[in-house]
Amino acid sequence: MAKNGASQTVSTPAAIRLAGVSKHFGPVKANRSIDLTVRQGSIHGLLGENGAGKSTLMKILFGMIRPDAGRIEIAGKDVNLRSSADALAHGIGMVQQHFSLIGKLTVAENLVLGRATSGFAARWVKSLDLESASRRAMELSERLGFGVDPSARCETLSVGARQKVEILKALWGGATTLVLDEPTAALSPPDAEELYALLQNLQRDGTTIVLISHKMPEIMRLCDRVTVLRDGAVAGEAEIPRAFDDPADRHALEARLVRLMIGRNRPEVPSRSSHIWPTVLSVRNLSDGERFGPIDLDVHGGEILAVVGVEGNGQAQFVDLLIGLKKATQGGIALDDIDITGMTTLERFQSGIAHIPEDRHRLAVADGMSVVDNASIGFIDGAPFAPTPYWLSRKRRARFAAGIVKRNKVRASSIEAPVTSLSGGNQQKLVVGRELARAPRLMIAAQPTRGLDIGSTAAVHEALIGLRDRGGGVLLLSLDLTEVFTIADRIVVFRQGRIVGETTTAKADIDQIGRWMSGVDRETQA
């Protein structure tokens, strides 16, 4: 399926050529032997889901991370990038997802920032030549159609304009190859349109562009060629023709790319639960008044409902609303027909919610505390550990923790050891075990198997299925579609804080889910 880098026979050397680039962080292989060739003067798309390894690859290219293995060639020459300054010297500029401009300074001042010419006098004595900087910025801006005023303060600019200044800044440093990491993630559609036009101007001007994105329409529109990454490896590549003779060709190509991106292999589906018990969680017209909702959603007893979607489309807000970290501005949440909308987080846990947080370090474990203490988070109010408020049993908690450690095969040197002495996967197992021990009516599992090995993943899946078979409801939030197909009974798709699609796993069409997730569906219908 993966037809790796069919090398192009071109007269000019490739702007960038990566050969066998690998990088791992601990047990996670972020990049596995990646080959990538970017033609001079082209717009090259890099498509992939979150965690597919796009950003790692580009950080390697920009000298921010050093690869474990592999070669990097820039304009035909082998290079060794030790820092981003090295990358800049080789003409590679990067526009990160997060803006790096200083708001109080003008555009021109931001442009010259950190670009002082060497030499003592230029650095320390001479005043900055802002006027010539402004003039040069004007020239560049006019030639390429930036439409940015060099004397404007950055904080007064719109997000779209700031994005352009970022690009200008990269060009200013002498970049001939631009790497853009999700440039339209924060832009409104009209701003994005302007950015697309700008990128096309840049291409005409001879700049090579690498565009990292998970938005299908933007890739189809701008790129000459696209490389799809999945699980840190190249899943496939495709040329994108400038014009399609037949719209069907276009759809076929899109469908192929989506399949490459999310993986087409559909695993064996274990037996679905035969019973459907009454509704456990019932969400009506729920909204946080900002970017989430309103949505309606039910989780039945004996059901695993998966919420899928590209990261940042309301999943986090949904969880916060469910466990009470965020107050709903409208709508209601009921657990077993009891309204819990007004309850505190603690009351919600006590009425039968358990939560495996997505961000373990932020929400699930306390680094400075021991395994015992971490196992007892959320169990310290009332019996059996604290029958009176003046006493918290140490021995009972220790036995409880030992039980969790044993049942969930957590590898810990001792239960008194600090939780940081456990590997990430073992910390996750501890958290999962702790939340299962709540005997929940509703388990909210956000990425419960992230960072776990195969055996532990299967164990977590088994535990969730066991919970379902006993009549509990499971709300699974996952970015891993394989996991969703493995254990979920029903799937809803979130996009921009709303439910855009729903299907049962048995009838699910993976291509359709991919289209719902990436918003292609709307585009093709329009």
């Binding site: 993986g263 109010d381 009332g382 029958p387 409880f400 590997s423």
Partner: protein, 421 residues
């Protein structure tokens, strides 16, 4: 179906929702554990000390290292002031520990440092930095002095009333920063520092020549408290008073609350990870207020004990900055209540030894301030010192760590992707 449907009324009862298996495991009968009784408190506490000391090995090491580093770093300053090292050492330690009365005086110095150090440590456990202990101590001392001088009660009762009033006064001075922090997010460092100035001004006003509580026979002081109200002397012929017992009692209570109650657990959890505390249902607002009030009450207690134990009345200048030294005490003690006892004793040695230091070795008492500043600096350097140390003993420590790390199987996600369709 083994699970029971949730009952809304159950939420309020004192029963945590728990899996039956897990509960049975934790409740397995065990000698001396199943029934809690007050008389078991002491053995429990002692047992706890043992467990703590198990973890404490590293803490003792860092404690000694930090003190040694600070003392060594102050050697050049002793040379600069033209004194001999040996003479200085004997003057300092002989003056503080050389005789029975000297030790008693050192312990007298330790009492306010210890209680105030606990105050700082308690707040630190909830990751709150209470720099306002000095102000809470001043105001607590003032309130204790006023109650002692004006309220008419039997002496023993009045003593207790004075201590409680002092705690209330200290807590009151922590209340405004606590509310501002909990509900408005105002940083407690800023607000508690400002409350220090308020406390200073209020206490000076109260005993100013025209102030409402100034004594007839003594400027800048309240009237003396009745004779039996003072904390009794527990070592005849010295100034050592029962405040030492109060201080050690405070250590025991703080130890118990922090490590053996749900409240302390919530506080430590909040200190260790704000997000995890919130996600598990801890009310950050309430815990912030509780931690700062408890810290303030301890600060007030330190002032009240000093007023009742040493002077018998409130003097406006009774604190030479105990509340500020307390920060160094808490940090050197690694925030552990036991550690605070040790570091409080160390600082008390410095304080008590500073007078003979000046008289015999001719070194200014300000040297004490220099050493305590160096201690804080080296506390900040502790992680670096420990890293250095562990890199020297690398083979034994790091091997075991890397082993457990590498046991994880690599590339699990990719393997899962290859499941047959």
């Amino acid at each position: 179906m083994t699970m029971t449907a949730s009952d809304p009324k159950a939420a309020g009862s004192r029963q945590t929702r728990m899996d039956p298996v897990a509960m049975a495991e934790s409740l397995r009968p065990d000698t001396g554990e199943s029934a809690f009784a007050a008389q078991q408190m002491l053995p429990r506490l002692i047992g706890h000390f043992h467990r703590l000391s198990g973890h404490l090995g590293g803490q003792v090491l860092t404690f000694m290292l930090t003190i040694a580093a600070a003392l060594i770093a102050s050697v050049p300053m002793i040379w600069i002031s033209g004194s001999e090292l040996w003479l200085t050492t004997t003057a300092l330690f002989g003056g503080a520990l050389g005789s029975g009365p000297a030790i008693a005086e050192t312990l007298v110095q330790m009492i306010p440092l210890l209680i105030a150090g606990l105050a700082v440590a308690v707040a630190f456990h909830a990751s709150l930095f209470n720099i306002g202990v000095e102000g809470q101590l001043l105001f607590g001392g003032l309130v204790a002095g006023i109650v002692g001088a004006t309220v008419d009660l039997p002496p023993a009762l009045l003593m207790v009333a004075c201590l409680l009033a002092g705690m209330a006064g200290g807590a009151l001075f922590a209340l405004i920063p606590a509310l501002l922090k909990a509900y408005r997010g105002a940083h407690e460092v800023v607000t508690t520092i400002m409350m220090n100035f308020v406390a200073l001004a209020v206490s000076e006003y109260a005993v100013a020549p025209t102030g409402p509580f100034v004594a007839a026979d003594q400027p800048s002081a309240t009237e003396r408290v009745p004779a039996g109200t003072q904390l009794p002397i527990i070592w005849e012929g010295t100034r050592l008073h029962a405040g030492l017992l109060v201080a050690l009692g405070a250590v025991a209570i703080v130890l118990w609350v922090l490590y053996r109650t749900p409240l302390g657990f919530r506080m430590r959890l909040m200190g260790a990870n704000h997000g995890a505390a919130r996600a598990s249902g801890v009310s950050i607002e309430r815990m912030t207020i509780f931690a700062l009030l408890a810290s303030g009450a301890l600060g007030g207690l330190a002032g009240a004990v000093q007023v009742l134990g040493v002077y018998g009345r409130f003097y406006s200048a009774f604190s030479p900055g105990y509340g500020f030294d307390a920060i160094a005490v808490a940090l050197l003690g690694a925030l552990s209540p036991i550690g605070v006892v040790a570091s409080g004793f160390f600082f008390a040695v410095l304080h008590a030894g500073s007078v003979p230091l000046q008289a015999i070795a001719g070194i200014s008492r300000e040297m004490v301030g220099v050493v305590s500043g160096l201690v804080v600096a080296f506390v900040a350097a502790q992680p670096a010192m420990l890293r250095l140390l562990s890199s020297l003993r690398k083979p034994t420590i790091d091997d075991s760590l890397t082993e457990s790390e590498s046991e994880q199987q690599p590339a699990e996600t990719s393997a899962r992707m290859e499941m047959p369709s």
